[in-house]
């Protein structure tokens, strides 16, 4: 009988314990089921997706329902999963300890809580009811994870202002760290300068002879001839085209170079050139092309000629497209100009400033 009575007490205790356990289980289930819907249209826009990038902006946005007592938002960054109740592994290299809340919209009044950690940002305010709609929070000064991989943000909404208690809403977000794509190429220094008796268009390969035969000089009229040069460069400091050489000579005899700007004077020995379209005598043409090279003042005056060894003929202060100049040569001789074959070699020098 004593054993039977003890058995009855034991059964009652077990029954009571079972009932309590069931009630406890029920309350736990009710507690968990109090979690509300998943946050809708949630996303994080990052300003930089490179590994270990610093001072990165993370712009968080999501929709919230009306009538939620909202006191804090916790954004936790995890390497392994966005699921709310799983263990969170901190992404390697991620650092939000210096995070700043740059802007906020929708539900406002939040500040960064001092309880935030290296991977968990707590936005805190005095709890108040939400009005519903889109919320955005711009979180700046974050250092990205150091490895190229997917990582996750868990966004929890709490009624408390400290990110404690049961969260009332939740949403996970996946993010990616990717290497940037590097492109490189080289633009070589470029200076094109070619000269010939004539050049088609701007194509240096079409240049004709480099020798000019001016024929027989005559004291009663000027003798003229032309050559052309094409120039272009990508030198950002532009270029200078200069001419180097002597006046026409024949042994010890010379036809004097025109050392000052002067018109053609038949009967006076003179040798000069310019880059203009002249009418007296009729020779030459104005520069053509898309470039910005301009002839020097001494050499761009129609019907005015000059030649000084080493003079700058033309220049451009910046890079320039193709441009073609026509050099007009003028020779006059006096009656007593010594007989002979007069020659000269002129060299055009292009100097680009890269």
């Amino acid at each position: 009988m004593y054993l039977m009575a003890n058995k009855r007490i034991f059964i009652k205790v077990i029954s009571l314990f079972t009932i309590l356990l069931l009630l406890l289980s029920t309350s736990l289930i009710i507690t968990n089921s109090s979690v509300n819907a998943v946050l809708a249209e949630r996303s994080i826009t990052v300003s930089d997706s490179e590994p270990s990038a610093t001072n990165v902006d993370y712009n968080l946005s999501f929709n919230v329902d009306t009538g939620i007592n909202l006191g804090s938002i916790v954004i936790t960054f995890c390497q392994n999963t966005p699921l709310p109740n799983d263990v969170c592994n901190i992404p390697s290299g991620f650092n939000a300890s210096g995070v700043q809340l740059s802007s906020q919209s929708g539900e406002t009044g939040f500040t960064i809580s001092g309880q935030s950690s290296i991977n968990s940002i707590i936005l805190s305010r005095t709890p108040s009811m939400t009005s519903g709609g889109l919320l955005t929070y711009d979180l700046s000064n974050i250092t990205n994870p150091s490895t190229v991989d997917e990582y996750y943000a868990r966004v929890y909404l709490y009624s408390s202002d400290s990110g404690t208690g049961n969260y009332v809403d939740f949403g996970g977000i996946a993010l990616d760290i990717t290497n940037s794509l590097g492109l490189s190429s080289e633009v070589p220094p470029f200076l094109e300068l070619c000269a010939a008796q004539s050049i088609e268009g701007y194509d240096c390969s079409t240049g004709t002879s480099l020798y000019i035969d001016m024929g027989e000089f005559n004291y009663s009229r000027p003798v003229t001839s032309t050559s052309q040069f094409v120039v272009a460069t990508n030198a950002i400091g532009g270029l200078i085209i200069s001419v180097s050489g002597n006046t026409l000579t024949s042994g010890n005899n010379i036809i004097p170079a025109m050392s000052t700007l002067s018109a053609s004077i038949p009967g006076v020995s003179q040798f000069g050139l310019n880059l203009a379209a002249n009418t007296d005598p009729a020779v030459g043409q104005m520069p053509v092309g898309i470039g910005g090279v301009v002839a020097e003042n001494n050499y761009d005056q129609p019907n005015q000629f000059i030649f000084i060894d080493g003079d700058t003929l033309a220049n451009s202060p910046v890079d320039t497209g193709f441009q073609k100049f026509t050099m007009s040569y003028l020779v006059n001789i006096s009656k007593d100009q010594a007989v002979g074959i007069y020659t000269t070699t002129l060299t055009l020098i292009g100097l680009a400033n890269f």
Binding site: S47, S49, V148, T178, S180, D319
Partner: protein, 398 residues
């Protein structure tokens, strides 16, 4: 002692129930209780429940059996019992609130053809028993006739993991409401069925948010690239650009996949080809074709696999990007497409916070995007080493 007797008594009852269950499994084939059948036991009998959840209502019971004899099929009784399927068994307990409701019978067929005659479904015994009665033009059945019907108004027994039974009787006459356990009438064919409610199994699994991007050389795989940086050299065999024509590189591709409910977007962020203060102009928001002798840098792309992704118009406006060919590093120029492809480089690439919208990927299978980069220079493009650092930033909206 009294308790011991009680326990012994309970044990006896349990033993008897156990015995009955065993008998239930064995006996129906040859035992007929108090009633007598003119035909035989229906064969190929079955009952399929649309739900086995205890207490579920509106459940459909699909019943099928093959007649055991040839006769004029004039009525049928299906009696649902908690204690035994044996025809003629003295009791038919309904202790678990089973109900056929106000019975609705559908798909009443013989050999997959709607049954002929005028039939009506009624209930007896407080919704425990279905009676199907034919009042006119009753059909003939043979021993090979397959009879099927659905009862759509059933409420299951309200206790989980409970076995219960159905007793099937057919008649040559219309039994109507005169059926009782004690006097079931002159039965033609008969048969028993066993069913059970089940404990509902709740399966929970988790699907986490996912956005996967991988940029790699198309000669490799995403896994082989393994996160290593990609460097593209855009130019001739010495990586030098020329005004003689474009150089195109289309060796890069990108895999994107997501389960984002509101799709994922990938933005392009960075700079155009730059050397100090010198730049090769981006080709702009409106995609244009290659123009040699004009300084320009641009990108286009095409979907090489998958169907969930779409490139922004700036980067695939005329869809001919897939005709581009690789000329970078080959010594040849060109490659801008047999039908000239258009390239773009949006102004937001280096102005916006996140860059310029490059593509959109909806939830689904992985999309592979192939990318082509192009550069031309004018003769006057300042010399130097030009570089561009481009990021692809993925944003999922869940």
């Amino acid at each position: 002692m009294a308790r011991i007797k009680t326990l012994l008594k309970r044990s006896s009852i349990l033993s008897m129930i156990g015995l009955v269950l065993v008998v239930t499994a064995l006996v129906p084939a040859f035992t007929f209780g108090t009633a007598h059948a003119a035909g035989g036991m229906v064969t190929s009998r079955s009952l399929t429940m649309s739900s086995s959840t205890a207490g579920a209502s509106g459940v459909t019971y699909s019943i099928a059996f093959t007649a055991a004899s040839s006769y004029t099929f004039s009525s049928m009784v299906i009696d649902f019992c908690g204690d035994s399927p044996i025809s003629g068994y003295a009791t038919c307990l309904n202790t678990y609130a089973f109900s056929i409701g106000t019975p609705t019978v559908t798909a009443f067929d013989i050999g997959s053809v709607a049954i002929t005659g005028t039939w009506a479904a009624t209930q007896l015994n407080s919704n425990r028993t279905l009676v199907e009665s034919c009042t006119a033009s009753c059909p003939a059945v043979t021993s090979a006739s397959n009879i099927t019907l659905n009862i759509t108004t059933v409420t299951n027994p309200n206790t989980i993991n409970t076995t219960f039974y159905a007793r099937i009787y057919t008649y040559v006459t219309n039994i109507g409401s005169s059926y009782t356990l004690a006097s079931p009438g002159t039965i033609q064919d008969y048969g028993g069925l066993a069913m059970s409610t089940g404990n509902a199994i709740t399966i929970t699994s988790k699907v986490q948010e996912q956005l996967t991007m991988c940029i790699y050389l198309h000669s490799l795989s995403c896994a082989t690239q393994s996160g290593a940086a990609i460097s593209i050299l855009l130019g001739d065999t010495h990586d030098v650009l020329s005004s003689a024509g474009p150089f195109v590189d289309n060796t890069t591709q990108m895999d994107v996949s997501t389960n984002a409910l509101n799709a994922a977007t990938v933005y392009l962020k960075g700079t155009t080809l730059t050397n100090g203060t010198q730049t090769i102009n981006g080709m702009g928001n409106t995609a244009v074709v290659s123009a040699p002798t004009t300084s320009q840098f641009g990108i286009c792309g095409w979907v090489s696999a998958g169907s969930s992704g779409t490139l922004a118009a700036t980067y695939n406006s005329n869809t001919y990007c897939n005709t581009t060919t690789e000329t970078a590093g080959t010594g040849a120029t060109g490659g801008a497409g047999t039908t000239p492809a258009t390239f773009g480089f949006g102004t937001n690439v280096n102005n916006g916070t996140t860059g310029d919208l490059f593509l959109t990927e909806t939830a689904g299978t992985t999309t592979t995007f192939r990318l082509a980069f192009i550069a031309n220079i004018a003769a006057t493009q300042a010399s130097g080493i030009y570089t561009s650092n481009l990021q692809f930033i993925g944003i999922g909206s869940y």
